[in-house]
Symmetry: C2
Subunit: 253 residues, 2 copies
Amino acid sequence: MVQVSVIGSGNVAHHLLKAFGASSEVEVVQVFARKKTSVETTNPNVEVIEDWSLLKNVDVIIIAVSDDAIANVSEHIPLNCQLVVHTSGSVALSALNDKNRRGVFYPLQTFSKAKAIDYRSVPICIEAETADDFQILETLAKSISEYTYAVNSQQRQALHVAAVFVCNFTNHLYQIGSEICIENHLPFDILKPLIQETAQKIATLSPEAAQTGPAKRKDTQTINKHLAFLTAENQKEIYKLLTKSIIDHGKKL
Amino acid sequence: MVQVSVIGSGNVAHHLLKAFGASSEVEVVQVFARKKTSVETTNPNVEVIEDWSLLKNVDVIIIAVSDDAIANVSEHIPLNCQLVVHTSGSVALSALNDKNRRGVFYPLQTFSKAKAIDYRSVPICIEAETADDFQILETLAKSISEYTYAVNSQQRQALHVAAVFVCNFTNHLYQIGSEICIENHLPFDILKPLIQETAQKIATLSPEAAQTGPAKRKDTQTINKHLAFLTAENQKEIYKLLTKSIIDHGKKL
């Protein structure tokens, strides 16, 4: 049994607490939040606190707050030599105050409170300063997920950037697709099977092999037709830049 | 029973023939290809031809060839007053020769021969010049798919552009994610659950509600860190442009 406490009440903390709650190998001892009322927990054994001095010794203290608050929060912890980890993709392990043993427990997924998630399929990227601490974090990660990876701070930064491309930017392309549908009195639903299939394709094909479309075919006629069709300046610019990038990639092969 | 013939041997023809073959309501009479050997059919009742003069009268002749060949192929058909449709997202109905009754049968999906597809979930966009012909195409579409839509040529053009954003461009973002992983000695697999979840999220949330990430949060510190991390010029440009577009969208709300 791994005893953990979680600091934070945002999306990441919310989904982590749900996953820990469903695991028989983890005991959540405390949840710290600036406002107790922002914590949703249905487990009466979990103590919700908003006073730093009440924080207890546990196996792992997880800081799940916004990136710019991590360093500050790690200083506020009134304990020493505890294993304290953050959950951020873009903050170095060294940002944590070194009065405690430091680590990272980064779940690589997009979390929205409104959408339930299957934590078993969320890759968890672990970093620690000692083999013993790595072991503790790996046990904790495996208790909620099937996919755990040893990822150092530099690699984690790379992953975080890659995640922005495949998740945040991809979702923005969905939004543009949705806007084009609305402007033309079409339901966005009509694009959803295509969106699902595009994501599912790369489970078995490389993105390179899965690439289709006018840019891939260097079909200048269709590309020009599309550019003439688009009126929003940002859509036009994105179309041009991504088309150029696909064509340039083709040249390298 | 709807009798159809298919002209073409590319990805679209390949998957259409498979779907028709699996339907009890459709009979594929002929497949025309410039090279007979390029047609994969396991049904001995289907006649594969490469001579225009052998083309028979059927309920629907489907031209599934590249966009720039559609007009030419429609001229070559040595028949009159037949219902002849193409399968393209970006070619107008009027591109078809008017010696025959014209229509469009556009399956909105990304097709690769190497990847099987569940045609029941492929939206089929139909256009015809008369209500009777629309009816025939709708019966045909419903025999292989659960989702059929009446879509005029202007709307189809819009859909085709939207599809480039949500499919072709999205896949290119996957490719960039994959490249960043490779450069940093990480398996691309680590990003796949995130890619799947990003696509699945918009089944229940609007893309606007599903948006997460540094641009959405206007987290300039992380954005600058990412830009400093990226070395490939095209990746940097794409990062900047899409980040700007997400931030500008946020301002509009």
